[in-house]
């Protein structure tokens, strides 16, 4: 019957976002009763190494919310062409259009709202699906009522949407919450973007939201203006549904700077709107030709993929614990525990697109075979690129491509550099003062040289269609001789030694030191 369209990203937009959003997702799912109903959440521009926002809070969502939710992930690289034009990190018009294009075509209605809204049918027996199913064609809005922050934060249970809706019905009366704020036509109400129900076919006819609106604010008013022209009227659903907003102004959100807030031009996008249509984007709105990843919370989750991958690569531990040490005298010892380290490496990659091509420059054969197994098990389809310069590594594993480093450099979406000892055996103790063998030194020298070249020339060797820097993952680069090597070139956080892994983007250091490092890296000096 209807597709709810929401957007956001895995950040901290306003006060206690996680609670607000969980309350809202669960409440929206609660008022759905048609098998075609769906919540489309566009996760816009979350960093590639983070999970999407709903994945990050999945444990607070009800089974029903997880079942009806489709997450459409817009990657930073897909946003990169718009980055110079806006100060915002998440774009409403683009997000909502991406969802509309991909919404269930069997649904007659599209409902635009936000991740802090609860919709309360006035008749407790009715679902929103029933309500919309019984409506004649039109463009419907409801007024937004505010819930004081104290109430939703203190009294709502995220995983009890029915109880929350019941509380709202009670509070509305006890605390006089229901105040309709009228507004000029075509807006009709204040804060109109929290409930705008339109026919899906109308939204297609008017070419979706206006994607020139990239400075934030007024997307809802622009939509109201254009749909009011197109439909002739703006109808109310106040007789059927009340909409409540979890107020969150204790802390200003990123797009709220008081009177200094930058926003879309009201005159251009509201008061001087002259047509329902946006013909300039008729063929392009919602990025119809862009492949957008779709994720679910009730199946094929990142956790399921992660465990499936690791189960193929490592066996369960047989001892209650193992040991290592970060004592300084062991600085030169490059042994590490692979079964312990591999989960942390997989953790770095599992949120990336499945088609990612990874360049793997490694020393240990068991690292390569283990990671290749896990990679396949996690459902990745992209190749593992291993430069021919790395000797002694397997060539016959599924998904592995061998070619000269220079040839593979422009094909890689991500890099893994592993600084282990090729001569380490599975049974030998870890960090017990082991010295490097000549073979270890020889292979590590090659890895170090390739690492510096890759990091120093990352920008100029990037795949042509790619617009954002590629991520470097360093394995076994904490508190050992390769720690400074790695962090001289890559802007990695300080990680616990126990994880063995650092990751980040190539440094953009314009100091003399940075320039020298890049020069030496490029020329392998």
């Amino acid at each position: 019957m209807f597709s709810v369209i929401l957007y956001g990203r895995n950040d901290s937009h306003g006060y206690n976002l996680h609670k607000r959003a969980a309350i809202s997702f669960n409440a929206l799912a609660e008022v759905m009763s048609d098998p075609d109903d769906e919540i489309l959440f566009v996760d816009y521009n979350t960093p590639d190494d983070h999970p999407t926002f709903p994945e990050a809070i999945h444990d607070t969502l009800t089974d029903k919310a997880k079942k009806v939710m489709r997450i459409l992930r817009v990657r930073p690289d897909q946003h990169a062409h718009l980055r110079p034009k806006t100060h915002l990190v998440a774009l409403e018009a683009q997000s909502r259009n991406v969802a509309l294009r991909r919404s269930n075509p069997r649904n007659r209605w599209v409902l635009y709202t936000n991740t802090d809204m609860l919709l309360v049918p006035r008749n407790t027996e009715e679902s929103l699906s029933n309500i919309l199913g019984g409506l004649v064609d039109g463009f419907y809005q409801v007024p937004r009522f505010e819930i004081p922050e104290m109430l939703w934060e203190a009294a709502f249970d995220r995983r009890d949407p029915a109880g929350n809706l019941a509380k709202l019905r009670d509070w509305a009366v006890r605390f006089h919450l229901n105040q309709v704020v009228h507004n000029y036509m075509p807006m009709k109400y204040d804060a109109l973007g929290d409930f705008q129900a339109a026919l899906r076919e109308d939204m297609f006819a008017i070419h979706g939201f206006d994607e020139d609106m990239i400075l934030g604010w007024h997307c809802d008013s622009n939509l109201a203006a254009r749909l009011a022209l197109y439909r002739g009227r703006v109808d109310t659903l106040i007789d059927k549904v009340f909409g409540y907003h979890c107020d969150h102004t204790r802390v200003a959100a990123a797009n709220n700077k008081g009177r200094a807030t930058r926003m879309n031009d009201q005159d251009r996008f509201i008061w001087n709107v002259a047509s329902p249509y946006v013909p300039a984007q008729a063929e392009t709105w919602g990025w119809p030709d862009v492949e957008i990843e779709e994720l679910h919370l009730d199946r094929d989750t990142a956790y399921q993929r992660f465990t499936a991958g690791l189960e193929k690569a490592i066996k369960p531990a047989t001892a209650p614990f193992t040991g290592t040490s970060l004592e300084w005298q062991l600085f030169e010892d490059l042994t590490y525990d692979l079964p312990h380290t591999l989960p942390f490496v997989c953790d770095q990659v599992v949120t990336f697109p499945r088609s990612t091509a990874v360049m793997m420059v490694a020393a240990r054969v068991d690292f390569v075979t283990g990671f290749a197994e896990a990679w396949k098990g996690m459902g990745f389809t992209g190749p593992l690129l291993i430069p021919e310069e790395c000797e002694g590594l397997p060539s016959d594993l599924e998904g592995i491509e061998r070619a000269p480093f220079a040839e593979q450099l422009p094909k890689a979406d991500m890099f893994i550099f592993e600084f282990g000892l090729p001569t380490q055996t599975p049974s030998e103790p870890v960090r017990a003062g082991r010295a490097m063998a000549p073979l270890d030194k020889k292979r590590l020298k090659v890895i170090e040289r390739l690492f510096k070249r890759a990091a120093a020339s990352e920008a100029e060797t990037r795949p042509t269609a790619r617009r954002v820097p590629r991520r470097f993952i360093g394995v076994n680069v904490i508190y050992n001789k390769f720690w400074t090597t790695f962090t001289d070139h890559v802007g990695a956080n300080i990680n616990p030694f126990c994880s063995q892994v650092l990751a980040g983007l190539p440094r953009e250091d314009e100091s003399l030191k940075g320039k020298v490092l890049r020069f030496r890296g490029r020329h392998a000096l």
Binding site: L135, V136, D137, G138, V180, Y184, M185, P186, A225, A228, L229, Y230, R231, G232, R233, D235, T236, I238, D239, K240, D267, I270, W271, N272, V273, A274, S275, P276, P279
Partner: protein, 373 residues
């Protein structure tokens, strides 16, 4: 000057301003349902709830199907806590709107919608007197007026908008529609020409210019506009395509497209009627005819096609000028096979009395041309 004179001198310009600002909405007959509705809205805004309810009641006693008044009254009752009394009224308003005739789907967006638009006329009047020098309030006001048949006031609104943004194609297109509705077809065509020079693929303006050209008897040029519109319309918009084809007198294309429309919207009686019409004109075997119960327009025309009613019955039940034109056209269609002269006569009446924006008007002109009239 006495104190009274001073006071009067101060008040007079303000009073003039007030009269000017209200003059645009005094196309309403005193004591009419619309006037009571407007008075109700003014009282509602001033907080006089009982007075507003009384005005809405008066409006509804004069026009029981006046959905805008039904809804306004329902919202007032609801806000007063009389929820039970209000509940059914919201739905009644929606049902009343949905039962109003919709415009042809090949026409500009504003003509396709159902409604009285009394609320919109009133609401945008308020907006344009407060949000000055902006396009949208004037344009939306004009659209609501134009759909209600108040083309002269609509033209005034569009011209006010054009003073803010002269030559804006979207506004010129609307001005063209208002001029066309006023019978000023030459001026309308000029406006549409300017729009199409800027946007040659503007399908809605091609439709509007076709209507104006047809009204002036420029059949070939009108048909050329509609042919271009048909080329631009996506296959998925079968009903719009069907209507354009019917205007052109392209009965084969219309027959096919109305078949698709009927499959999508089987409850729309016009698609069945027009498919029957196109079928008869092309000589296709007749479709089964299920005449809708209740007799609501255009059921009498379907009954006539089904042989369940005489031509005179169909004509007698046409209670508006538009319906008369529709009925005359259908009588001509059914007469054509056996009595081309009668068909010619009926279609001649359509051209003489019908509104040029009607599909039947264009179709009749094209059929007459085919008959050599």
């Amino acid at each position: 000057m006495s104190n009274v004179d001073i006071l009067q001198a101060a008040i007079t310009p303000l009073a003039r301003l007030w009269r000017r600002s209200t003059s645009a909405v005094v196309g309403l007959k005193p004591g009419s349902a619309e006037q009571h509705f407007r008075d109700g809205m003014l009282r509602m805004r001033s907080g006089d709830i009982d007075g507003a309810l009384a005005e809405f009641d008066k409006a509804l006693s004069l026009a029981p199907g006046f959905a805008d008044a039904v809804l306004a009254r329902a919202e007032l009752l609801d806000g007063q806590g009389r929820c039970d009394a209000a509940r059914g009224e919201y739905d009644r308003a929606r049902r009343l709107w949905s039962e109003m005739p919709a415009g042809a789907p090949d026409r500009r967006y504003l003509f396709r919608r159902r409604g009285h638009f009394a609320f919109e006329i009133e609401a945008y009047e308020l907006v344009r007197s407060n949000v000055r020098n902006k396009i949208l309030p004037q344009l939306a006001h004009g659209n609501a007026l134009l759909v209600r048949g108040r083309a002269d006031e609509a033209l005034d609104s569009y011209e006010r908008a054009l003073r803010i943004k002269p030559n804006l194609p979207e506004l010129l297109a609307l001005k063209g529609e208002a001029l066309s509705a006023l019978g000023r077809h030459e001026e309308a065509i000029q406006a549409f020409d300017t729009v199409l020079a800027a946007f040659p693929a503007d399908a809605e303006t091609l439709n509007g210019r076709g209507v104006a050209r047809m009204a002036l008897g420029k059949l070939a040029e009108a048909n050329d506009d509609w042919r271009r519109q048909l080329d631009l319309l996506p296959q998925a918009q079968s009903s719009a395509r069907a209507c354009v084809a019917m205007r052109q007198g392209n009965s084969e294309a219309a027959f096919h497209s109305f078949g698709l429309s009927l499959a999508k919207e089987p409850a729309n009686p016009y698609w069945l009627l027009y498919r029957l019409t196109a079928g008869r004109l092309t000589g296709a075997p007749p479709d089964p005819i299920a005449v809708p119960s209740g007799g609501q327009w255009p059921a009498p025309l379907l009954a006539f096609h089904a042989g369940q009613a005489a031509a005179a019955d169909a004509l007698a039940q046409a209670d508006t000028p538009c319906r008369s034109a529709e009925a005359l056209f259908q009588v001509g269609v059914v007469a054509l096979a056996g009595n081309p002269a009668a068909a010619r006569r009926h279609w001649g009446e359509v051209v003489e009395r019908g509104a040029p924006a009607l599909i039947e008007y264009a179709a009749a002109r094209n059929e007459l041309a085919r008959l050599g009239s």
